[in-house]
Point group: C2
Chain length 137, copies 2
């Protein structure tokens, strides 16, 4: 049996565009399994870790939460299950994203009309402040 080539955390970090601290944190919260250690107590990663971390990072880029990623990784390991669970997580996330977009667009409209009312005078007659402030008594 041949020995797998291993590398330090810094290499893994660079290869995946992740900060070293973030990798250690993924290990702490159980997303990344604890790797073997060298004689000097350094973490020694292999190709499997690289693959798993790349997966995590891509999913993060797509906005999945760590909990969702945990589930995705779990399911990805159960190769002969139907992939409906995967689909469900992705769809749920899509809906969340849609909701966020709608919220932000509503907010944008409000902000925009607020700004449109600014007459560039004194604070005393500022429409933006007025709009935020409660009705004066």
């Amino acid at each position: 049996m041949e020995t797998e080539t291993t590398f330090n955390i810094g290499i893994l970090a660079k290869a995946t565009g992740t900060k070293v601290e973030t990798i250690r944190w993924y290990e702490r919260v159980g997303l990344l399994s604890a790797p073997d250690r060298t004689s000097g107590n350094y973490r020694a990663y292999g190709a499997a870790h690289l693959g798993r971390l790349s997966f995590i990072r891509r999913a993060r880029d797509l906005g999945f939460s760590l909990d969702q990623i945990r589930t995705l990784l779990d399911v990805a390991g159960q190769q002969d299950l139907p992939c409906e669970a995967v689909d469900a997580i992705a769809r749920e996330h899509l809906e969340e994203v849609d909701r966020k977009i709608a919220d932000l667009q509503a907010l944008r409209r409000e902000l925009d009309s607020l700004i449109g009312q600014c007459r560039h005078g004194r604070v005393a007659e500022c429409r933006i402040i007025e709009a935020l402030a409660p009705s004066k008594t």
Copy 2:
């Protein structure tokens, strides 16, 4: 001189749709001034507090950060300054919102195409998992 009518934190909370703990937290971080206390050490709020908290809540609803709100409140108190500072904060925030919307829309497109590829088979040949996983060796 007449004594101002005052009310407890719970009343203020209900009136503004804020949790009691949140009000106390605004006080801790200096957004809301510490009110007088009753003989029983209860916070006694008045109309000014109600106004200020309403302002904060509306600004929060529009997505301003507490730091931005702090500045807005500062400026709102300087009635004869030009209101450009207010305008600038609002515009900056609008740009931020626009950026977030664009990011989310890009993400949405990616997610959507990912989901569109699901053939509802086994995890082993799931396109979603494949798309996330690194190229197999």
